[in-house]
Symmetry: C2
Subunit: 681 residues, 2 copies
């Protein structure tokens, strides 16, 4: 079977290297090679027991790796990008994960210079190892509902951190369970009996020497999860635990230690900026996350043969399952999606950076924002950020749901072998899965998008001039809605984009009618809002993909054949999405029933056929090293079966056990040499 992959590669003219270069740039490609070499030479990063080890062994290995990685960072003077690339190659969550992200970021963004000296420095030196403790057993999405209190005690100028109930226990906190000695704790600030809402406090939680929890602090790991088991997500309860005045991160709000007055030295818009940045990163990564599954499944389905094709002339040997159209409709549409998401992620990041620039120019102008208690206004942030905020919410929701669901489609496309962990898809899926829930649950985020679209539509209805793309497509729709639309979706790429814009605008004004004219309750509209957000986000993906392919640099960077193939991927993504959501496109009159029929039975099927010869090279361009994917099915050389067999027979500890199988014998294991397989650390 494995020779099939090189045959596939010889059948396509696509210049893989050039395409990779176009997607990632030389710097990133070189960086990956450089770091990969270092990691592969370190025994502790050997992955061969990853799929076999139980939770405790995996956690132990992950800790050893986290330590070594930090040492390597110091040794090689790695930048943030270098470290990030190393983590991508290792591909497992590690016990320093939250220390290195939210803990450091929060200290940096929300601390004063004095607090940087006191907390950030030792944290950067890994003397303080921290976590970000916001979520509680009883409250996640609703941050304002947190129960942990931080009561200002003017007498001795301390805060008393307290968990008044079981549900106040911090929960899900990454790196907390076993690893961290400090935590940023979000707690309700109370001054003189008056609540001021959640604020961040830096709290030491474990002894610096013994690493045991301090007195009046109760900590533990929350137990096994669907994935993410190399991480020690933890719980944390405080029993009237005192911390000094300096513990409250004071850049945006503080308590005057002498007057006990609540102060707001700066606008908190930067905090919302952080949230937006985190979501934008999720969008940026979603294409690559999905591409791993698509790479594995596409390569395997090119090696896997099953049945002869009865209608075909060639009756020697069996058909590669990649030739079956029910396999293609699953994998090639996802292949197109990986590219669509990649370019959307790029676009999202550019938007973010443009906005950061604007923000720093406008700094100071923005007034402080009031956050409402209801879902209609969570995380609303400042007006300045509104467009970016909505875009990041909508795309985070769409992109991560698409990646999650797509990975499972890839796994299933591999038939039985997809269920083996050696496929590499299942474990990867399981670790990625929470992305659909954290940083804003993917259903809830859609309310933010709808809220923004409604607001934009109201402004357009008032006759205000368009100020950005959203208001532009809304007013364009308003102008033309009487005469109707007639988009040549099968002939012109730009008409495809326009049809997506049309549907999004149509649904926006429908929703507005329900809310503003029919006065429907917010809750009764959530399902419509979900659809609206999805529609608008799909429009943004289609638009970003289209624009990336029509940028001026493209004709220099890609040869004609590759460019034309990229346009086919664009059309496949757009037309397949359109036919999957057909009813919204009809209802809005963006397309006719006949166009959908033609899209489905002709255009999409033809695109599958045209993409088929290039499928392997198109996944190759994603440039995943075998070491990163750790997959028998996705090997670059196609040696699928040899690798499965090797892992099962040589690396599998269960095979060092001989059982007594008879029901009436009390012996279970007659022989057990399985411990010999444990990784040497």
């Amino acid at each position: 079977g494995h020779e099939l992959l090189s045959e596939e590669r010889s059948k396509s003219n696509i210049a893989v290297d050039k395409l990779s270069l176009f997607m990632f740039g030389k710097q990133q490609i070189d960086r990956k090679q450089r770091i990969l070499k270092i990691l592969q030479n370190e025994k502790v990063f050997d992955k061969s027991q990853n799929y076999f080890a139980g939770r405790i062994d995996r956690f132990e290995t992950a800790l050893a790796r986290a330590k070594r990685l930090r040492q390597l960072q110091v040794k090689h003077n790695w930048t943030q990008e270098d470290k990030f690339t190393a983590n991508e190659l290792i591909s497992e969550p590690g016990p320093y994960g939250l220390h290195e992200s939210m803990f450091l970021i929060t200290l940096r963004d929300q601390g004063t210079p004095e607090q940087h000296e006191k907390f950030l420095k030792p944290a950067q030196d890994y003397e303080y190892i921290g976590c970000y403790a916001q979520t509680e057993l009883g409250h996640g999405s609703n941050v304002r509902g947190l129960e942990t209190t931080a009561t200002w005690n003017a007498e001795d100028k301390t805060f008393i951190i307290h968990s008044p109930s079981l549900t106040a226990s911090k929960w899900w906190i990454g790196s907390l369970g076993r690893t961290a000695n400090h935590a940023v704790v979000m707690a309700q600030l109370i001054i003189n009996g008056k609540p001021y809402g959640p604020h961040p406090f830096v709290v030491q939680i474990r002894d610096m020497k013994t690493h045991k929890p301090l007195q009046n602090v109760h900590i533990g790991d929350i137990g096994p999860k669907f994935g993410y088991n190399t991480m020690d997500n933890g719980f944390l309860l405080f029993n009237k635990f005192k911390v000094p005045h300096i513990s409250m991160l004071a850049r945006f709000s503080s308590v005057d230690p002498t007057t006990s007055k609540y102060l707001r030295p700066a606008s908190p818009s930067l905090i919302y900026g952080t949230l937006t940045w985190v979501r934008s990163t999720i969008v940026l990564q979603a294409g690559g996350v999905l591409a791993r599954g698509v790479t594995i499944a596409t390569r395997y389905c090119a090696v896997r043969r099953q049945f002869q094709d009865r209608d075909s002339k060639d009756q020697t040997g069996e058909n590669q399952v990649l030739n079956y159209t029910t396999v293609q409709i699953r994998l090639f549409t996802l292949l197109a999606t990986t590219y669509a998401l990649h370019f959307t992620g790029r676009g999202m990041m550019q938007l973010y950076e443009a906005n950061q620039k604007k923000m720093s120019q406008d700094a100071g102008k923005a007034s402080s924002t009031q956050r409402g208690a209801g879902p209609e206004e969570t995380h609303s942030g400042s007006d300045l950020l509104a467009d970016l905020h909505a875009t990041s919410c909508g795309l985070k929701s769409l992109a991560s749901s698409t990646a999650v669901d797509g990975l499972e489609v890839c796994r299933r496309a591999c038939g039985g072998h997809g269920y083996s962990n050696f496929s590499g898809i299942g474990p990867w899926y399981a670790d990625y899965l929470p992305t659909a829930t954290w940083e804003g649950d993917n259903y809830m985020l859609t309310q933010q998008v709808a809220r923004y679209l409604l607001k934009s539509a109201r402004s357009v209805l008032k006759g205000n001039e368009p100020t950005n793309d959203t208001t532009y497509i809304l007013s364009n729709f308003l102008k033309k809605s009487d005469m109707g639309a007639a988009f040549d979706i099968l002939g012109k790429d730009e008409d495809l984009v326009a049809a997506f814009a049309w549907r999004s605008a149509f649904l926006t004004f429908e929703a507005l009618k329900h809310r503003d004219e029919q006065k429907k309750a917010w809750n009764d509209l959530l399902v419509d809002f979900y659809r609206l957000s999805r529609a608008h986000s799909q429009y943004m993906v289609v638009k970003n993909f289209y624009e990336a392919l029509n940028a001026p640099n493209v004709s220099d960077d890609l040869d004609t054949e590759t460019r034309s193939l990229m346009h086919k991927l664009f059309r496949l993504y757009a037309l397949h999405t359109l036919e999957s959501e057909a009813s919204e496109f009809y209802t809005s009159s963006a397309v006719t029933v006949r166009q959908i029929m033609l899209a489905r039975t002709n255009a999409v099927m033809k695109l599958l056929e045209e993409i088929r010869p290039h499928a392997i090279k198109l996944v190759d361009a994603w440039d995943f090293p075998d070491w990163q994917m750790d997959s028998s099915l996705g090997r670059y050389d196609g040696k699928v079966y040899e690798d499965m067999f090797h892992r099962a027979s040589e690396l599998n500890p269960l095979n060092a056990i001989t059982v007594d199988p008879y029901p009436n014998s009390p012996t279970l294991f007659k022989e057990d040499d399985s411990r010999q397989f444990k990784s040497k650390l």
Copy 2:
């Protein structure tokens, strides 16, 4: 929060007991209670470490449980149903799994009386412990492509079983990896150099005393999987391994030991009967599989509160998340689906039993069937079985995909806590997942359904009278297609059923046009076939649900209020399915765009509201004991947080470990008392 569940229960008049009785019957409900009591009293079945233990410990525990279960079966003289119920309550695959199913069934169905004596008897006594070894590393779906050979050796009247290549290795074989000492091996029979296709052989593979593999037999466990890790799926290679003449299961075909002639003593239709039975069982179970997830998520979402509802008058406390319509649209549509699948499973089993009766009356008449090599005819079986076969293929595919995907929807509806294994959904999902792949991959099975529908349509076009429901709806469509349809889907339940029938018939004739008139290649139609099969199967579900609710006994068994609620569930399932597949319903002119709009914005939303007060009782009626679900979130008493906390802090071995977190210290674990948590067996 937990008192919310009893409040919920007090708000609905539904008689849960009566509804359970209606669904399961008294016998099954009593059986469950009786067996549950026995299991709960046995220490070995204690589940408290299930979510924590690694693969080897879990396998060891599973083996201990399998043994004890067999002892209990003997002690209490359990019937098959009793044993089956015990397995459902334990809810984990066990090492005797394939012995007790496919091994015994194959010996029984395909063995001669002499072979029953020689193989079946010791197997029933658990001296022989077996497995069913069909799939190979290189071949699963395409059974005719198997590479393992069984060459008849006339000289010493033996068969030589051989694996000619690596890909010939048996793979995925349940109970083989460590447990079985015998296997039914499917191998290509070769007599005098001529191949006769795959046949079953009973082969001893391990020594009865030492339990080590016999010489020239290479066996092992295939390694960790996405789920199913309490089972030892194995691989198996033979090096010219001799077995005696009696090893070939000879009820349907055999080799004459003196003449070396190939004989076919009986028609193999019974074998196809077994496959149909297995698929029917999957359909029967799918509702309950999904209902576990729905029960857990619905209860949790009634306990979970998050945010205040801004539009609501009551501003005390937070809203139960079950009140949000985006939660309802996910959970209540699935709740309706569980009932729809339950009654469809019932219907499927009745069809199977009716057919078995007919078969035994017609026995002998049926001619032996030729199976084609291509996908168009795999597992076609005898004509007699054609309708049953297609129904079981279509419904197996739809029902198991629906259950799998629905479970993940339930898990995600629980927000962050859904990701904890204590939710009980993730591990259950992971174990059930392969059902979408085995017993016919859910994509491939749809070709069988399409083939049958095309055949039926051709017969109807020829003017043949309808002989069953399928040909009836096809000819009804033909008669009326000129004048068109006008179904009152929002007003009349029977019109809803008719609309589903209409769409299925429309798609059938469309597909027929493509195949017979436009002569499209089979492969180019696979995507259409997939849609067709899905459409037809959804029709069957809607029809079965409708008929179950309109059966004569219903008005005796259920009070008016419960009955009306069941009709609402019916409408919710049907209308929600209809709007999710809206474009096929338009295109076939079964409904108008306006009807879909009304279904979506009015009818479905109204049904959610009407079902809301009864949601908890409707999941209660599924009658899952807490012990079975093993879920913190799904507890009957709603003590969600207490249970999460208990498991994390009291049962979690990782918390017996103290780490050294500093990057430059080589120590990883300073203290490790985690082994104390290992289950005592």
